[in-house]
Every structure is written in C-alpha cells, then in structure tokens.
Amino acid sequence: MPHINLKNDLPGIRSAMAYSPKTAAPMGVLAEILLRSNKGLAPAERELIGMYVSYLNDCFYCHHSHGEIACIYLDGDRELVEQVRKDYNKAPIPDKLKSLLAIAAKVQQGGKFVTAEDVERARENGATDMDIHDAVLIAAAFCMFNRYVDGLATTAPTDMSSYPLRAKQVAENGYGSHIYTARQPA
C-alpha cells in the first residue's frame, strides 16, 4: 500500500505523477527527451540503461517497465534484455554500449564512483561527449525515478502480462503527459 493516499489506482510512477501533475509535467518532458531522442544513442540503448539502473536499484516497476519498452525497440528480443541484465559484458551488444552501461552502474552507486578510466574506455569504444553525458544523466534520472516510485511505496502490477501492454502504449505515444493520463491497459 502506498505511504500516502495517491487518490488514483494507476501503478508505479504513474500514480505518483497523477497525484502531483505540476511536478509530473517537467518529469515527463525530461523522460521524453532523454529516452526517446534518436540523436547519438538509440532509444533502445537509452531504455537498456534505464532498465539496468532500475534493476540495480531493485525497483521492480521501473525495471520491468523499461525492460519491456527496450524489448519493443529491439523487435521483441526479450532474450537480449535478459542477457544485458544478467551480465551485459557477455551480451551481444556493441562495446560502446557495454562501457556506457559500466558508467551507468557506477552512477547508480554514486557520482564519485565514475573514474577517468571508465570514461576513457567509453571514448575508445566510440562514445562521444554527448553519449557519455546522456549515459550519466539517464542513470542519474533513474536514481530519481526509482526513489520516487519506491519511496512512496507505489503499487507494482504482479501480473507480468500487463507490462508488455503498457510498454506498447509508451512506444506508440511516448512519455510526456501520457505517463499519468493514459488509461492502464487491461
């Protein structure tokens, strides 16, 4: 049960955002830019970073939501999402993304954990300054989203079949105000 009366029956971050639409509006804009931009990193790569940080933060709702959204962008390759979560170093993904996931995992622990060597490795693997910036900010943003979701003890659907349905909505309509206004798929 949520720690406060959120006055709606949406799950996860959607319920917290519907409770406070004023703060939700800029959060929705931030998510849209960070996760749906095609410049530099692809949306699938952005979602994989969000999924992985949420997994490390043990945020069930965000972890599964963003895993399913990544899955859609990867043409249904759920196995790849699983591999990234279990051991991204062994997953069939580009070295650039591996080194950005390494940076994201450091950010999850704390900003100071990111080393010059981590950044150098990402550059050697082809990451641009903006890729590095975005990986850090996506990871930092999920450290906010995850805490918002679990810090208020929002509910997470236990029926796993609901996550792909909701992911489809996000893939089609994006974030923005859709996060807290769209009806939860049945």
Partner: protein, 186 residues
C-alpha cells in the same frame, strides 16, 4: 577536470545545465516548482532537505551551495550545520525532523523509507503532500548529486563563490537567468 568539455567559468551544475539546455529546462522547472513554488514548507525547510541529501551523497558542490542558500534564507548558520551533524538533535520542528529522516532514507534507496518513518511524520503533522514533496526533492537531489559528480565537474574552493551562488538561488531561484551566464566570465 570535467570528463566532458564544459565552460570554464561555470563550475558544478551550472556548466552541465548550459551544456545540454533541452534536458536542463525540465530539470530547472521541476526544481523551481519543488523548492520555490507554493508550499506549506518554507523555502528554508525545502533547501534543508536538499542539503541533507547532498551531504549524505557526499556531493561537496551541492552541499556547500544549498547550505549557503539555507543560511541566507534563515539568516543564521547554526541550523544547517546541526542538521548535517545529527537530524534528531538539530534545532528544527518535530515535523522537519521526521521529514529530514524520510529524505535521508530516500538518499539510501526508495525502499529504505519505512511505514514507521512515514507514520512519525504524519503524527508530527506532516500532510500527504509534504511527504510527497519531501520524497521527490530527496530523489531529485539524488539525480543532481550524481550528475555533478558523475561527470567530475569543478568544485570551487573559495567560500565567496558559494555565498554568491546562495544569493543567486535566493533571489532568482532555479530558472535560467534571462541574460545567460556570460557576465560571470572573468
């Protein structure tokens, strides 16, 4: 030295917010609403929440900047110093002790927030919205602290810098200055 090229006259968060202005806009807006918008918590109380989270995240830039903002808003330096030492013996209301405790739990993880700590805040008179805002401010500073340190931004050592920044936060809040930041160039 920062891991990505940032303007030299803009240390800490400011250089990052000028580096990518499209993501900066919603981050600034969210902060302005949470820390300066209408609220039953004073600006000083909300800055104290930002301070304790930044302090626990060991983000020197954010801790010093928001300590300066608190000190200017409260007109004294004792409260911020005591809160950083020990929330429970600091000269703040029981409600603020309970909210600062929740913020400190959010700093660790969203899941660290307990039903007991929320109940204690409610018993001390905190409203649902105050608890919501406390969780989201704490979560937001988990983003900021990681953004600032994860990209290794410059932390000025001159106390005068933070006094100036604290004044700017009091007088202008978190919106981008209309004239930009070129006037800060030496």
């Amino acid at each position: 030295m920062p891991y990505i090229p940032l303007e030299e006259h803009l240390p800490g968060i400011t250089g990052l917010l000028e580096y990518r202005k499209d993501t900066a806009a919603p981050i600034r807006e969210l902060t302005q609403i949470l820390l300066r918008g209408p609220s039953t918590l004073t600006e000083g109380e909300r800055e104290l929440i930002a301070t304790i989270v930044s302090h626990r995240n060991e983000c020197k830039f954010c801790t010093t900047a928001h300590t300066a903002a608190v000190d200017i808003l409260l007109g004294e330096e004792n409260t911020s110093a005591k809160v950083k030492q020990d929330i429970m013996t600091a000269p703040v209301s029981d409600k603020m002790k309970a909210l600062l405790t929740i913020a400190a739990q959010v700093q660790q993880s969203g899941k660290s927030v307990t039903t007991e700590s929320v109940q204690k805040a409610k018993d001390a008179g905190a409203t649902d919205l105050e608890i919501h805002d406390t969780v989201l401010i704490a979560a937001l500073f988990c983003l900021y602290n990681r953004y600032v340190d994860g990209l290794s931004t410059v932390t000025p050592t001159d106390p005068a810098y933070y006094k100036g920044l604290g004044e700017r936060l009091k007088n202008h809040g978190y919106n981008r200055l209309p004239q930009g930041y070129d006037h800060l160039k030496k």
